[in-house]
């Protein structure tokens, strides 16, 4: 008896588990038709599915904004879903794959090309924004002549620093338009004055931070011509990571396992909020979340500059409508209201950066608390030296992942910088060649 029971059971479980392993995907059913009630009948109740990413402070503002919209348009209610940056970009691909993207979704300059070229976003060129966003800005944001997202704010990349702690340690604060040399010197000097276990700057393993360096010295962006050309400057690459290797040795940057455990905007794991690092990158739209974690302690400066400038300043946050949307017209109407209506602007404030419509920001400005002006300050310090925002092209996500993994190996001392350079350029050139076909 025993024999048959266990053998049978083993085989049964076996076949079930093997069957599950091989499950790839089901078929895809494109072209889901619009729900009824979307045919211009504006009074039929509509429930808009909407998704965005950010920190809690942004979530609260966004939820309130939807309440305001519903109070004005009682037929439209929302089914919101919101999460942090990392989780958001992990979830979106699976939704896209199963054709269940929400009606309205938050897009970012770093990802919009990928999603637009894969046909997941609606063309929004027909939303009339005359007098709200100038034609040139919109033209710049078009991908293949189509507008796949409505920019909702002006954004800029700069740096936040722990003003309170730096002052307490008697360290000279970063100044606007500091050069990369000044940035590295700041780190060296601060090391001597900071207590053990506290670091002036963090280590870096992502491609975008190195790209700021390369671009500021006039060597251009890494991924060019919509992904058909790859451009990684060996000399600058070796120099940039050489300096970081030296810093690792001298404990000017935190050890590798600490760097890997950082998680931005997490009270315990944020490099700055945890008190471990004095500086980190910040954008106009996200600096508010950091300020909330360490109120009154931080200040901002632009990214270090080179002869070409430093950082970027332009709209990178969008609201898009997915091709899976069931209520496309209602979604477009909401987005238009979101960027043009003052009541909307008052509600979400500066949580996405500086509202794109100047009239909204002018109305908003007198009511802003000093801490909310931090975003505006970041924008103002960054704008005159800003370089173009240079995202990856569609199809490059794998390379971006590999870049980080390769540089992590350098950080943990398992690869030399030269090896890393060779690997990264090899895979970069391969993808560029493939995209060129």
């Amino acid at each position: 008896m025993k024999q048959t029971v266990y053998k049978g059971l083993t085989l049964l479980m076996l076949s079930a588990m093997l069957a599950l392993t091989a499950c790839g995907s089901g078929g895809s059913n494109k072209g889901e038709s619009n729900a009824p009630g979307d045919n211009g009948d504006s009074n039929a109740p509509v429930k808009l599915k909407i998704m965005w990413q950010g920190a809690d402070i942004r979530h609260q503002a966004m939820l309130k904004t939807q309440e305001v919209y519903t109070s004005k348009n009682p037929s439209v209610t929302f089914s919101p879903e919101y999460m942090a940056w990392d989780d958001y970009w992990k979830k979106l691909p699976t939704l896209a794959a199963s054709h269940s993207l929400p009606d309205v979704l938050h897009m970012d300059g770093a990802y919009i090309q990928e999603y637009a070229t894969r046909g997941t976003l609606e063309d929004l060129s027909d939303i009339d924004l005359t007098g709200v966003i100038d034609e040139k800005t919109l033209e710049n944001l078009k991908i293949g002549g189509k507008l796949y997202g409505i920019p909702i704010s002006r954004n800029a990349q700069g740096m936040a620093f722990n003003k309170e702690a730096l002052e307490a340690a008697g360290i000279e604060l970063p100044k606007k338009d500091w050069t990369w040399d000044e940035y590295f010197d700041f780190a060296r000097n601060a090391r001597a004055k900071l207590p053990d276990g506290v670091y002036p700057i963090s280590d870096t393993d992502t491609w975008d931070f190195y790209q700021y360096y390369q671009m500021s010295f006039g060597k251009g962006s890494i991924i060019q011509e919509e992904g058909k050309k790859f451009n990684l400057d060996k000399e600058l690459f070796m120099k940039f990571y050489g300096i970081h290797a030296e810093f690792r040795e001298k404990k000017i940057v935190p050890p590798a396992d600490m760097v890997s455990s950082f998680k931005e905007n997490d009270p315990q794991a944020d490099p700055m909020a945890s008190g471990k690092v004095m500086t980190r990158g910040a954008t106009v739209g996200s600096v508010g979340a950091l300020e909330q974690l360490m109120p009154g302690k931080i200040d901002v400066v632009n990214l270090p500059v080179g002869p070409e400038g430093g950082g970027w300043a332009q709209p990178t946050i969008f609201l898009s409508v997915s091709t899976d949307a069931k209520h496309k017209d209602a979604a477009k109407a909401f987005i238009k209201w979101f960027v043009t209506d003052k009541a909307a602007g008052e509600t979400y404030g500066t949580n996405f950066g500086i509202p794109i419509y100047d009239e909204i920001y002018t109305a908003l400005e007198p009511t802003l608390a000093p801490k909310e002006k931090l975003g505006k300050k970041l924008y103002d310090t960054s704008i005159d030296k800003a370089m173009p925002f240079s995202p990856a092209a569609a199809g490059w996500t794998e390379w971006i992942d590999n870049y980080k993994k390769t540089m992590d190996a350098v950080m943990f001392g398992q690869k030399s910088i030269e090896e890393a350079y060779n690997e990264i350029s090899k895979s970069g050139n391969a993808i560029a060649e493939k995209s060129g076909k």
Partner: protein
Amino acid sequence: MLLKGDEREMKVEAVHKPAAAKLRLAKKKVKGTNDNNLAGYIFISPWLLGFLLLTAWPIIQSFYLSFTEYSLLEAPTWTGTDNYANIFSSDNDFKTSLKVTFLFVLFSVPLKLFFSLMVAMLLNKSLKGMNLYRTAIYFPSLIGGSIAVSALWRNMFNLNGYFNHVLAWFGIEGVGWITNPHTSLGTLILLNTWQFGSTMVIFLAGLKQIPNELYESASVDGASKVRKFFHITLPMLSPVMFFNLVLGIIGSFQMFTSAFIITQGGPINSTYMYALFLYDKAFKHYQMGYASALAWILLVIVALMTAINFLVSRYWVFYETDGGKQK
């Protein structure tokens, strides 16, 4: 199959009576058995349909897709064996993830078997309130491989995690267990070992089936406890052991949740499990065809491992019905 035939018959009947009558005549010859089968198939039809539509069809589909380039959003294009050729010739991540997964299986399966057997033997003692202990020890397994447990472990073994706090009481400076490439895989193996509940319960059931007379007569002959363990418990338990071993190996090869939640394969691919690699290809890099090919390779690997297991089992698994002889 029969179900389909009968469905067809019904349709035919509606439009074409004479033909249907002929069919029925033909069927009459085997009528007795057929009717019984039909009822049976109807009874299991919910499961059967579920299996055909949700399991069998996707499997066939994925086999087809593994020979295509398919981004999920555009129609697949046939590329022949390109995916397989690329995987074996030039994909470093494939080699890395395979290595990591084999390491994981190699350590986590024996560890888990060992611990669950030890715990099962403890729980097999007759003590007062034993049911309470059993419940308490099995309880964590109810929440077993879930996301929540993984998130808990992430917090425990992070650089600022509870584990390092405890170490600090003893003056030991911990490392970032899950953010250090030397310790991350070990931490995941530990987590997998800790989730021994279901394996342990199966062992416990097996232990209970070993007749007490065997131990009694061995005691009369003066056998020591160790001897009894090696000469009674282990051989009598070997079918259960085999069952747990096979399931453990298959489960470990498919390890995904904790690697995805806790380490995301990092740092530097040190916990880049095969299933995670497959997921990245499918849902992050939009290479569903490539990912399907990976799934089929995993299927072959797991099937091979299991076949080896079954072959080797005849040398160490004893069944009572064979009179205790090796097969």
